[in-house]
C-alpha cells in the first residue's frame, strides 16, 4: 500500500477472483510521488457477499452477562435501600384480578390502625377507584395508572414514593396490577412478596402459575367465607400452595367477615420487627 495516499485502499475491488486491471481511478498523486500500480492481488477482506469465507469471518464476540431487567433491578435495589433507610417494610401484593387485593388491604389498614402507620401504592391500568376505596380508611394512598402495562416496575414505585410522606410510615403496601404472570419478573424492592389466592379461583392455580408462587414469602387464601359456596377443596389447595411456594407463610382469611385477619395483621407486625432486627 502506498503510505502517502493509501491508494491501494481505494475503492474496493469488485470481485474475489484474481485479476489484473488498469488503474482508472481519477486519483492524482501529489508532486514527487509517482509509483507503479499493480492490482494483481489476493483479497482477504469480506467486502462482497460472494466472498467464499464470509461465514467464517471474524465477528467479534462480546461477553455481556447482564440481566435483561438490569435497569429495573437496579431501581429495585435503590428502592430497597430507601425502604431500609426509612425503616419501612414494603410489601408487593400480587394476585389475579378479582382475588380481593383491595378488600384485603382495606381490612389490613383498619386492622393495623394504632399498631403500624401504613401507606399504599396501588397500580391499575386505569381509574383511581381502588385508591378511592382505600382512602376511606384514612391511610395515604397513591394511585399509579399504568396505561397498558400489565405490571408495576420499580421506577414507577420510586416515582409514587415521592408523593407519600414516607418518613411517617412503618409499612408500605404496594398493590400490583391484577395479573399472576408478569409481576413475577419485576422486583420492586419489596421485603416481602404476598400472593393471594381466592377460594373461587380453583385449587390448582399455584401449579398453573409457578413463578409467582415460587417467589412468594406469604400466600393468603382469601374469601374463605365463600368456601362452601365455591366448593373449595381446601386440602388440595393447601397442598398445592405448599408445593409451589416452599418458603411461604400461609394464611386463610376473609377480609369481609374478619376471620383470620388478626393472625395476618400480627404476622405483619412481627415481620416488620424481624426485618428491623436484620439491619
Amino acid at each position: 500500500m502506498c503510505d502517502t495516499c493509501g491508494c491501494s485502499n481505494l475503492p474496493p475491488a469488485p470481485a474475489r477472483d484474481e485479476h489484473t486491471h488498469a488503474h482508472t481511478y481519477a486519483q492524482s498523486h501529489g508532486p514527487g510521488h509517482e509509483h507503479p500500480h499493480e492490482h494483481d492481488h489476493d483479497h482477504c477482506h469480506g467486502l462482497t457477499d460472494r466472498h467464499e469465507h464470509a461465514a467464517a469471518h471474524s465477528y467479534q464476540t462480546v461477553v455481556v452477562n447482564q440481566a435483561l431487567l438490569g435497569a429495573n433491578n437496579r431501581l429495585a435495589e435503590q428502592n430497597r435501600g430507601a425502604f431500609r433507610a426509612l425503616d419501612m417494610l414494603a410489601l408487593n401484593v400480587v394476585s389475579s384480578p378479582g382475588s380481593g387485593k383491595t378488600t384485603l388491604l382495606q381490612a389490613t389498614l383498619n386492622g393495623l390502625r394504632g399498631r403500624l402507620r401504613c401507606g399504599v401504592i396501588v397500580g391499575d391500568l386505569a381509574t383511581d377507584n381502588d385508591a378511592m376505596r382505600l382512602r376511606g380508611t384514612g391511610a395515604p394512598v397513591v394511585q399509579i395508572a399504568t396505561g397498558t402495562m400489565c405490571h408495576l416496575e420499580a421506577g414507577m414505585v420510586a416515582q409514587a414514593l415521592k408523593k407519600l410522606d414516607v418518613r411517617a410510615l412503618d409499612l408500605l403496601l404496594v398493590e400490583n396490577v391484577g395479573n399472576l404472570v408478569c409481576p413475577a419478573s419485576f422486583d420492586l424492592g419489596e421485603a416481602l412478596r404476598v400472593v393471594l389466592l381466592s377460594v373461587t379461583e380453583g385449587e390448582d392455580k399455584p401449579l398453573k402459575y409457578p413463578p409467582i408462587f415460587v417467589s412468594a414469602d406469604a400466600v393468603v387464601v382469601t374469601k374463605m367465607d365463600l368456601e362452601a359456596a365455591a366448593g373449595f377443596d381446601r386440602e388440595a389447595a393447601l397442598r398445592n400452595i405448599r408445593q409451589a411456594s416452599p418458603k411461604a407463610e400461609l394464611f386463610e382469611l376473609s377480609a369481609k367477615t374478619g376471620s383470620g385477619m388478626e393472625a395476618w395483621c400480627d404476622y405483619l407486625v412481627t415481620a416488620r420487627k424481624k426485618w428491623l432486627e436484620l439491619a
Binding site: 440481566a67 400489565c150 408478569c182 413463578p211 418458603k247
Partner: protein, 113 residues
C-alpha cells in the same frame, strides 16, 4: 406477554453494547433463561421476530440457553433439580425454597461486526 417488554430490553441492551464497541451489526444474540424465571422461551422468540426488523440485530440469530431450576437442600447441602415443582430433596426428603438456579434472564454474549 411481558416477553415483548423483556425482548425489547434485550435488544436495547445489545444495541447499546454493540454501538459502544464500534459495531454496526449484530450477528448473534445469546440469552440465558431460567426454568422458573416466568419467561417462556417460545414467547421470547416470537417477540424477537416482531421486534428485530430495523434494529442492528435485524439479521441476527437468537440462541436461548435454558437453565434448569436447582434448589439447595438445607439438610444435605446438595443441589437438586426442581422437577414439576417438586421442592423436596430426593435424598433426604427435606423441602427447600433456596433456589440457586432457574431465575436467570440474562443477555450472556453476542457476536458483532
Amino acid at each position: 406477554m411481558h416477553e415483548l417488554a423483556i425482548m425489547q430490553s434485550a435488544l436495547d441492551m445489545a444495541e447499546e453494547k454493540a454501538l459502544a464497541a464500534g459495531a454496526s451489526q449484530i450477528h448473534r444474540l445469546r440469552l440465558r433463561i431460567g426454568e422458573l424465571s416466568g419467561v417462556v422461551p417460545e414467547a421470547l422468540r416470537f417477540a424477537y421476530e416482531a421486534l428485530r426488523p430495523g434494529t442492528m440485530a435485524a439479521e441476527a440469530e437468537l440462541e436461548i440457553e435454558e437453565i434448569p431450576a436447582l434448589c439447595c437442600c438445607p439438610a444435605c447441602n446438595a443441589d437438586f433439580h426442581v422437577a414439576a415443582l417438586n421442592f423436596e430433596c430426593p435424598k433426604c426428603h427435606q423441602r427447600s425454597g433456596d433456589l440457586r438456579k432457574g431465575n436467570e434472564m440474562d443477555l450472556t454474549s453476542m457476536e458483532i461486526s
